[in-house]
Symmetry: C2
Subunit: 134 residues, 2 copies
DNA sequence: TTAGTTTTAATAATCGTTATTATTTATGGA
DNA sequence: TCCATAAATAATAACGATTATTAAAACTAA
């Protein structure tokens, strides 16, 4: 079950890694179009799904928002801005947390967890401060 | 800023509390229709939003899924089944976790966090086991 | 070369949710 | 009580994100 690395997939993957951001499908579509103007948005969606299934990229399902895709496949959590929806990485030790929580979930066979810190990013804080002294 | 408790709101609230589950808008719509057959789905959506805004109920935005509404407004986290999307409550001490994570989010002004344990619920485990010995 | 498989672009369809609008219902004085 | 106006509703259209369909194109293996 090996994955054929088509031109489309190559460029999608390259642009995501290049960005070093947590991009949504349509943001990535805009970037990819620069190199492949005839690509379809559905192709981007389909291949992002395939690439994440194959472990080349991560898929982030932030609550109540668009999916975002992650250039970094190592296990880590995220913080996101409630105002502009920017997503940033978080580096905390997962092990301790994981095993501690598992115990309290009786009946379920636990496969993982998702931790989202919610807040306001530096840029949006600054913007809010400037608003106030209008 | 007081909220008028209309018949619609009363019944929506009552049925959610009665269920003691984490219902989606359309699941709740089905229950409410039994008592108020002419109610509109949009009314259910609108009032769930209003009721959660006013603190009568909780709103759960599980990653990549339909919103669910919570009869229990006290702070707690959730576990959900990756197969059937059932959501259950989790009782873990929030304090320790919260303050520990905050430190690693430099720049952001943190307003909260969301922890989702993902797994397979007892019912779905059983079903999978029966599948295997087909 | 050719037949079969996979992928693609284009586009339609779906799903959950929110917006619009005309009508109904509640409220608070004259 | 009557009226003005404000709020809420039912019905339905519109929306944004995503997935499904399909006919054509590109690839693969014999
Ligand atoms: Mn990341
Ligand atoms: Mn709950
Ligand atoms: Zn921000
Ligand atoms: Zn289940």
């Amino acid at each position: 079950m090996q994955l054929r690395m088509t031109n489309q997939r190559e460029i999608i993957l390259r642009e995501l890694k290049k960005s070093r951001q947590h991009l949504s499908a349509d943001e990535l579509y805009d970037k990819v179009k620069k190199y492949m103007p005839r690509i379809s948005l559905a192709t981007v969606y389909r291949n992002l799904e395939i690439l994440s299934e194959a472990g080349f990229i991560g898929k982030l399902e932030i609550s109540g928002r668009q999916k975002r895709f992650d250039y970094d496949v190592t296990e880590h959590d995220h913080v996101y801005c409630a105002v502009c929806h920017r997503v940033d990485n978080l580096n905390i030790e997962r092990q301790g947390l994981h095993t501690r929580e598992i115990k309290s979930v009786k009946g379920y066979s636990v496969t993982g967890y998702r931790l989202e810190i919610v807040g306001i990013c530096p840029a949006c804080q600054k913007k809010a401060k400037q608003e106030k002294k209008k």
